[in-house]
Amino acid sequence: MISIKNVRKIFPSKHGLLIAVDEVNLEIKKGEIFGIIGYSGAGKSTLIRMLNGLEIPTDGSVTVAGREISKIKGSELRQARQEISMIFQHFNLLWSRTVSENIAFPLEIAGVKAPERKKRVAELIQLVGLEGREDAYPSQLSGGQKQRVGIARALANNPKVLLCDEATSALDPQTTDSILDLLVDINKKLGLTIVLITHEMHVIRKICHRVAVMENGRIVELGQVLDVFKNPNQPITKRFVQQVTEPEETKETIEHLLERYHSGSIVKLTFIGDSAEQPLITHLIRHHHVTVNILQGKISQTQSGSYGTLFIHIDGDQAEISKAIEYIRSQKVGVEVVTGE
């Protein structure tokens, strides 16, 4: 559906040339929810803007739904844009128009006749759950409702691709989840390809099938979300994964425990998919002569399975501890002995 080949984007700046996007290659399949994560300035904003021609790549080619976006201009580009919708962090609604009128705007652009427009707007309002707010102005809506208008507006012309530019970054956690649920719903119902950029791993975890991690204009890691969670290679990816798997206070807790318990080991267990459902701890205590103290744990759901982490403190004879850890390893559970660095 989307093919990005050897794309580079260079901006002239006061301090010479700024390489915003550097040699990026990506293939995104039809019906996929693809996430691009990175800190601000990583180039993800520029990259997503090249998918609908708001930015033109300096080198390379961008093809979306069979059209080479990086080459076409004028009316052909405008035509293509009606099939590649975008939603924004700050919603970008017209405040002078009501909810209905905002949703009707892309239909007006596409030249849809008034009666047809009215019908389609009613459908979309229902789809995003905004019944009763048709005649409200954006200033009378909450952030979540505004983004729902943004989504309805983006879907108006039955696009093939939906681009989400930090679409939930201005929303509170609860609203974020409801908007993400809506996106998954739309993806399933309409088979829409979704590309989103974000700096929150939570968003990736919750709805994406695949993820690309961007740093300094390059894609440094790419894969299935669950695989990336299981086995993050780059330090930046590890940091992002920690955003979801380890609450803020984990590190402090562990440091505190390392100080307190001089004997035994603190072990971080990583469960993927089915392994999360085995009675591992029970077995551990029954068959090995160790004491186990559960420190902290969390299970996260991703689109392709669950992923959990558990911190435990194992104490006892050194040989027994080693055997216990050996056993855990044999159970297809990730094991990492935590030492105080």
């Binding site: 035509q79 705007f105 102005y137």
Partner: protein, 224 residues
Amino acid sequence: MNNQEGYFQNVDWSAMWQATLETLYMTGISVLITFVLGIILGMLLFLTSPGNLWANKPINLVISAIVNIFRSIPFIILIVLLIPLTMLIFQTMIGENAALPALIIGSAPFYARMVEIGLREIDKGVIEAAKSMGATTRTIIWKVLLPESMPALVSGITVTAIALVSYTAMAGVIGAGGLGNLAYLQGFQRGNNDVTLVATIIILVIVFAIQFIGDFITSKLDKR
């Protein structure tokens, strides 16, 4: 002064009414044309500025220079400078129509700057959103830029209209008719202070009315 018969005995009310109509006529026509001309100029200033739809430095500089020059010329001097143009159009310097070229050329650049400021206040993201939907520049102008900046455009034309009322009074002094003309000829030059006073009060009423209407429309339009 022979003012034994009561207040305002020097005031010729029908002449005063006539002058009021002339002032309203001059203000009304010039506001209308300034509104259109100012929006066109302001829109061009905005669109040709760096980073916008028609970004073009040379054109932007030229329009900007013209606007600044006409904005800086004192109005009373502008009237004199425009005498040849006015004579060409109306074959006379007397009467309310003769004031129109100076009024419009004096106020349109002033308003154009206000239009530009109003347009700049529109969130760039909204323009980007329209572009991402495949809107043409024409659609963006008519359906995004103008409606989204309308409260600013209306409050700007309100300020401009009030400035225009005082310009008409100045133009009146050199023969354009209206309340300024009346106050100067019948009031000031003949020492009839009551005429000057009444003319001033009427001008004040006109100004207040314009402000009231402008504020009312602005608040109706502003849905932010």
